[in-house]
């Protein structure tokens, strides 16, 4: 019986909250043309969280290349473009830091070109810039990357379509349930209001939280501008799991 009690206590503590309504995109968003044939049409099946969802991969420090957080020092020379510092904190919905969790980023170079065989944009590649990095957050949930400001680039979604400058972010958090992939934008970018990817989320405040903040605190004199981008992962729900199970049965 002791094991059963332990399991019960553990699941009571660890369930993750539902997303707040409107703050996440629907799978189907026709202005983003690629979603039309890839979004499921059947409704998602509501599944109570189990041990399978409240646990998740833990990427340890032994997997981390300490040089991977500086995208400007991965080659013999310096990359072209404006060097920037991108930093922030990874928090949960109770504003608690998410420590020692993996943050991965990837981005275009200063000319708006990715080091990828399917990127056919006519802008030049930069032999000194690959555009990917990773790091772990520290004990207070902080992360920091040195990179260059990515360029805007055209895409074929609609006539005269251009993506605003952005950096892709991928995070695990503490559970399968807390996985997040998102994009960070830059303040004042005139392309943001026209971007169907940025606009896929209904809630305006939620969208605007994807725009980083210029930050004097992390700006290094005569060296690099700082941008701050805090990320919030799902927090634990105070509601015991039994209630979810009961709702599903009712």
């Amino acid at each position: 019986m002791r094991d059963k009690d332990t399991e019960k206590q553990m699941t009571r503590l660890a369930c993750y909250r539902k997303f707040y309504p409107g703050t996440q995109p629907n799978h189907l968003h026709p202005p983003y043309a690629s979603s039309v044939k890839r979004a499921p049409l059947q409704p998602l099946v509501l599944l109570p969280q189990t041990l399978s969802e409240i646990t998740g991969p833990v990427i340890g420090r032994e997997r981390i290349d300490p040089r991977a957080c500086d995208l400007t020092r991965q080659h013999a020379g310096k990359p072209l473009g404006e060097r920037i510092i991108v930093s922030g904190r990874v928090l949960d919905e109770d504003a608690r830091p998410v420590p020692h969790t993996l943050v991965e980023i990837w981005q275009a170079n200063a000319a708006g070109r990715y080091v990828h065989s399917r990127d056919q944009h006519g802008a030049p590649l930069d032999p000194n810039f690959t555009g990917c990095g990773h790091t772990l957050t520290d004990s207070e949930g902080r992360y920091r990357f040195v990179t260059i400001r990515p360029g805007e680039y055209p895409w074929t979604n609609h006539y005269n379509a251009w993506r605003p400058a952005h950096i892709h972010f991928s995070l695990y958090g503490q559970a399968f349930a807390t996985r997040l992939v998102t994009q960070m934008y830059f303040p004042g970018d005139p392309l943001i209001p026209f971007d169907p990817v940025f606009n896929c989320t209904a809630d305006e405040e939620a969208r605007n939280r994807l725009i980083s903040v210029f930050d004097w605190e992390t700006t290094i004199p005569s060296h690099a501008l700082g941008y701050r981008f805090d990320i919030v992962l799902r927090g634990r729900d105070a509601t015991p799991m039994e209630d979810h199970a009961h709702e599903d049965e009712g």
Partner: protein
């Protein structure tokens, strides 16, 4: 007001430059205990066309039904050779492949009428990412000829006509090889979860 979760955005078409360093087809790890299986399949869109720019992420318990994670406090042994996590891409034909071990059974949530939990059937939890998906899709893969599938929590939440989309099938003439396809949209659409 407490902070709200950051909104999802698509991985876009060029994610491999950032995510490929963690690609690993061996989900269990070479030294893991348990019954080895190879899983092969195809990721298809609503026109039945292969999705060449996709990733599957797999998470699973070890052969005893224990997750390699501090929140799994079951009194079951950890397997030091077991990893339980893999990230695999699709190729130009939308095909993916991984090897692993069949996991043990893990508890489901308490059933609402008491403190007893019901065990789930052996399963993998899987995230699907592609260009065109604004956030990940969550699904599960189950094993063929597994009697406990009949009493599994998640499978019993699904329309019986769609359950087969989550159960891998044996491949003819190949021992320990399973086929499991992911169909994003349309006839025989794979079941995806909100959890």
């Amino acid at each position: 007001m407490s902070p709200r979760s950051t909104t999802w955005q698509t991985v876009g078409p060029f994610f491999s430059i950032g995510l490929s360093w963690l690609y690993d087809e061996d989900v269990a790890g070479p030294a893991a205990a348990g019954e080895r299986v190879t899983v092969e399949g195809q990721l298809l869109d609503g026109d039945g066309q292969p999705v060449p720019d996709g990733i599957l992420e797999i998470w699973q318990a070890n052969s005893c039904g224990k997750y390699a994670h501090p929140d799994d406090m079951q009194d079951k042994p950890l397997d030091p050779g077991f990893k339980g996590y893999g990230r695999v891409p699709t190729d130009d034909q939308g095909r993916f492949r991984f090897t692993t071990i069949k996991p043990g059974r893990v508890p489901g949530p308490p059933n609402g009428s008491g403190s007893r939990t019901r065990l789930q059937a052996p399963h993998l939890v899987i995230s699907v990412f592609t260009r065109g998906l604004l956030r990940r899709l969550i699904t599960r893969m189950y094993f063929p000829d597994e009697p406990s599938n009949n009493e599994d929590l998640a499978l019993n939440l699904i329309d019986p006509a769609r359950r087969h989309t989550l159960i891998a099938s044996k491949m003819d003439g190949r021992a320990n090889a399973l086929e499991w396809n992911v169909i994003l949209q349309g006839a025989d659409e794979t079941v995806f979860f909100d959890c």
